[in-house]
Each structure stands twice: as C-alpha cells, then as structure tokens.
C-alpha cells in the first residue's frame, strides 16, 4: 500500500497519461454526471487536488456482472484509474493479494481511514440461518457489512442484488437475501440498481463522490437522479410507435420487423427507471429494446417475481402462471352478469304475484 495518498491526477501522471488525457477524462465524467460546462472546473480541480478516496469493494451474493460492466465502461481511464487504483485497497475479484494479506489490507484500510473510506458493495447479504450462506474468511457477509459500514463515509450498493435483492431475493428467497439498505442504517447509501448497472453510470456515481465529496441527488428509492429519474420508456427510440399505437404482437410478426413498440410482448420499459435508452450498452452500441427484445426491468425491485417476462400483466398471485388480473376480472364480471340475470328472473316471478294481487284488488274495487 502507498503511504501518501495521491490525487487522481497524480496517479494518472504516474501512469503516463498526459494533461490532455486528464482533461478529456474530466469532461467525459462531467458530461456523465450532468454538470454544466461552468461546473467542469470544479471536477478538474477536485481530481487534481483531493487525495484519492480509499475504497473497499465487497462481493457477496452476486455474479460479478457489476464489476464486469464497470471495467468495460467506455472510457478506458475510468476502469484504469477508478478500479485499478482507487479500489486497490480491497476488492476480492481483482486484487493481487489473497487470504491473510487480503484480510490485512482490508482491516488496515478500515482502521487507518475510519470514517473516510467508501464502501462499495456488490451482491445481497443472506440473513437466513445466521447468514451462513455467504462467508468470507470465516465470517458471514452480515458481520462484514455491519463492521465495514461502521467506519464508512458512504456506501454504494452496486447492482440490483445490493440495492433490491435481485434474483437471490426472488420468491421464495431461501437464503433470506437482503439488500444493503435494509441492513445498514444511519449511513448515506446510494443504490445503483441494474443487472448489471451500466458501466458509465457506475463510473459517474464514483466520480460524483470524488469530485463533489458528497452524495449525488437521490430519488425516493435512493438512486442517483442523474441516471434513474426517467423510465427506459421515456427515452426509448421506439416511443413514437407506442404513442401511435403500433405494437409488436409476437416476435415473428411483421410489426417486429418494422421495429414497433414491444409493450404488448412484455417490455418493462414503462415501469423501469434507468438510463439504458440514453447511454446504451457496450460503448453506446445498443440496448435490449434496440436489439428487438423487451426490457425485463432488471433495475427494478422484484423484477424476477413480476413475470412472465413476455406478458404485459403479471400473473395473478395464487392462480395459474398464465392467469392475469384481466382474465380473473372477466371471469368475475361474467359470473356477476350471470348472477344478475338469475336474480332478475326470480325477481320477476315474485313481482308477478304482487302485480296480480294488486290487479285483483283493483278489479274488486271496480266491480263493487
């Protein structure tokens, strides 16, 4: 471990990047996190002068797709600097150290930079059976999270696992997979959901923390507003087809070839908050809808339980997998109409008596 904390700029210099590269990086990041042109100087200044923030990056119940996404974020320096250097202190997947050394590095960072380090978490934390479903160095993830969160300045929950439980948290959730924000209280927690989140979104969140030294603006679910304030649907290039009522009916029809809206084949774009439609994936090449497949809503809580994916309405709990609220509604409606018809018939039979009685009385009166 280095003794003196270098700034991001100093580290880039030591790795042979020029001033121009650095400024390009800053403008890129500034654009990502949405600062105005006039605010760019602040980003540059911060990355030049502030010593790098010590970072520990944990992996719990997850598949490492968040890390994979992060190291593929479009600007190479992002991965190079932010991951290779910034989170050198502890990250199971990429660190050179293993076993005892790794644990020592973690504890040294946590001790030396108490209250200063950033805690990045990938994966959910199992809580069933005292958390034995995920253990690192003989300790449960639950213990580790609680201990590390204690001295953390802020926590970033990477991916859907850490921010809403993702697949591990799907019913019946045998391990009791729990997102970080339900375990840790009293610390600023930034949720960056997605399976995985977009690499640039992850980088942007980190740069915001580095440059402004405070957490970005968050929405009601703790997600950075810069990336999660709009639905995939609202930024979708197929949106005009939706408004025009042009829908794909099945994946092999003419409408699918024409690139119509995938709403009716289960696209979750209208209920999913993410930046996919704007930033896209793999250096802005594409995103699911552009490739002809509906969004599955991977950045939304419970997306795995809201199936089937290829159906607009979820199946109704307690009924068969194909049974939507509409089918049940139609059945109840039909039963109601049938009941009403039967009721009307018996009412009429009954009323006939009364009318007859009345008629008789009137006749009697007339006859008298």
């Amino acid at each position: 471990m280095e003794e003196k904390m270098l700034t991001v700029y100093e580290q880039m210099q030591s790795r042979g990047y020029s001033r121009r590269d650095f400024l390009r990086f800053c403008s890129w990041m500034g654009a990502l996190i949405g600062v105005e042109a006039t605010g760019l100087a602040r980003v540059v200044h911060a990355l030049e002068t502030k010593p790098r923030v010590p970072v520990v990056w944990f992996h719990f119940q997850e598949c490492t797709c968040c890390s994979e996404s992060f190291i593929r974020s479009s600007h190479p320096i992002v991965a190079d600097i932010l991951l290779d250097k910034i989170s050198l202190d502890y990250t199971e997947t990429l660190q050179a150290a293993a076993g005892k050394q790794a644990e020592e590095a973690l504890h040294a960072t946590m001790k030396k930079y108490k209250g200063e380090y950033l805690m990045l978490c990938e994966g959910s934390v199992p809580t069933e059976a005292d958390g034995v479903y995920c253990c690192i160095a003989g300790r449960t993830a639950l213990d580790i999270v609680k201990e590390a969160a204690e001295g953390a300045k802020a926590i970033v929950a990477w991916g859907s696992c850490a921010s809403n439980g993702c697949i591990q948290g799907a019913k019946p959730n045998p391990t009791g997979a729990t997102p970080i924000h339900k375990i840790v209280t009293g610390k600023p927690i930034i949720n960056v959901p997605g399976c995985p989140p977009i690499g640039e979104v992850m980088a942007g969140t980190i740069v915001h923390l580095l440059a402004f030294d405070r957490i970005p603006q968050l929405d009601g679910l703790g997600r950075p507003k810069a990336f999660y304030s709009r639905r995939v649907h609202d930024t979708c290039y197929r949106r005009p087809n939706y408004d025009a009522g042009l829908f794909v009916e099945s994946f092999d029809d003419e409408n699918a070839k024409r690139g119509y809206c995938l709403y009716k084949v289960g696209c979750r774009g209208p209920v999913t908050y993410n930046a996919c439609g704007v930033m896209r994936w793999n250096n802005g090449v594409s995103y699911p809808i552009q490739s002809g497949h509906g969004c599955i809503g991977c950045s939304e809580a419970n997306f795995w339980d809201n199936g089937p994916f290829y159906q607009h309405l979820a199946s109704f709990p307690g009924f068969g997998i194909e049974t939507t609220a509409d089918k049940i509604g139609v059945a109840v409606g039909a039963a109601t109409l049938a009941g009403m018809a039967a009721h009307a018939i018996s009412t009429n039979i009954r009323k006939r008596h009364e009318i007859k009685k009345d008629q008789n009385e009137q006749d009697k009166k007339g006859g008298a």
């Binding site: 009522g245 979750r268 908050y273 609220a325 109840v332 109601t336 109409l337 009307a344």
Partner: protein
C-alpha cells in the same frame, strides 16, 4: 284495498346529482381507456409512427379524466360537510346498531329476495352507505396509485403529492399492477350498482332510479317521520 300514502322527499341536492353523473362518466371513460392502455388493440398498419397518435390520445384522455375524477371527488367530500343530511359525511360511516340491522334487512331483500319491508333510511340505505364508503377508499387508492405513476412524467404539484406511493409499493410495476386490478373493482361495482338500483326501484317503488335525476324520492308516509 289498502291505501299507501306517499310523501315526496327532496333527497339528492343538485351538487350530489352533478357529482354522481360526472363520476359515472369519469369512471366509464377511465375504465375504457384504462383497459385499452393495459391491452391496446392490435393494429396491422404499415404507416410511419409519425402519422398516428391514437394511443397517446387514449392516454391523454385517461389522464385528463383522472384530474376531473379527482376534483369531482374532492368536491363531493366538501359537500359531505356542506350538503343536506342525506349528503353528510356521517352517512357513510355505519357504526350504529340500527344501521347493521338495516344492512341485514337489505341483504335479505337483495339476496334472499325476501319481501321488501319499507326501510328506515330515506337517503342511502345502510348497505349502500357501507359500499359507497368502500368505493371512496377505492377512489382514493386509484387516485394515489394513478397519480403516483403519473408523477414521474409531470411537474404538476398534484401528482407529486402521491409520488411517495411508488417506493412504498416497491416500484412502478407493482403500482401499475394494483392500479389495474382495482379497475376491475370499478367495473364489477358498476354492474352491481346499476342492477341493484333497477332492482330496488322495481321492488320498493320509491323512485330511487329517477331520484338521481330529479332529486325526489317517494317514501311511505308512516315511515317519513324521521
């Protein structure tokens, strides 16, 4: 021959009647457009998207109607404090024992088709009161979930009041699902409501069907003491 003398009571004031019919139109429009939003028609069209906006229009109508529905509902709540004794808010809370007796009485008439005894109530009967109280809860739920979803695409202050419902219910998907299921409550309610109004008019002969147009109900005199 027994003679029943009838007294005419002015029960539903104009604001109540206006509310009722505005509400009826809104609920109908909201259910139709809402159902279409959930399951849009299949169009086989080769025209460019820029030539059409029908689905956008359906949604627009849904949203505008939702605002009308909401403020109509707010107006009715106000009238629950300003209106006559049949419109008052406490009609919709059935806590009295006599009201529960009447509920059983009405159920006997409605379901077991027992011979209709003239009811105590001149305005809503107790079962109707209870049902309308539940529909008010459903109105509120539908406004909260609907405006909650709408909040993300609006700067208007009203939807923002309900934005908190989305995180509480665990995301837009769940909110949409519940909003959609509640639509079926409105549909089924409308069926039963319309049928029962016809039915009661048919067996009671108190003019309940026309009362929502003219405001008058015709009550047997010996019952009209209260």
């Amino acid at each position: 021959m027994e003679t029943v003398s009838i007294r005419r009571y002015y029960v539903w004031q104009l604001p109540v009647r206006v509310y009722h019919w505005v509400n009826a139109v809104c609920v109908t429009v909201l259910c139709v457009t809402g159902y279409l939003i959930g399951s849009p028609l299949a169009l086989q069209s080769s025209s460019e998207a820029s030539f059409g906006y029908w689905f956008g229009t359906v949604r627009f109508v849904h949203f505008v109607t939702a605002f009308v529905f909401f403020f109509n509902f707010v107006g009715r709540i106000y009238w629950g404090f300003a209106g006559n004794s049949y419109a008052r808010w406490n009609n919709f809370l059935v806590f009295r024992k006599s009201q529960w007796r009447e509920i059983i009485e009405v159920l006997k008439v409605d379901i077991l088709q027992a011979k209709a005894q003239p009811l105590e109530s001149i305005g809503h009967n107790a079962l109707a009161s209870l049902t309308y109280f539940l529909t008010f809860i459903a109105f509120l739920f539908q406004c909260m979930t609907g405006f909650g979803m709408y909040a993300a695409m609006s700067d208007s202050w009203l939807p923002q009041l309900f934005a908190w419902i989305v995180p509480v219910m665990g995301g837009d998907f769940a909110v949409r699902q519940w909003h959609h299921m509640a639509m079926w409550f409105f549909i089924i309610f409308s069926f039963i409501h319309v049928y029962l109004v016809f039915y009661h008019d048919y067996v009671e002969g108190r003019g309940v069907l026309s009362s929502m147009v003219g405001g008058w109900k015709f009550i047997e005199k010996e019952k009209g003491k209260n």
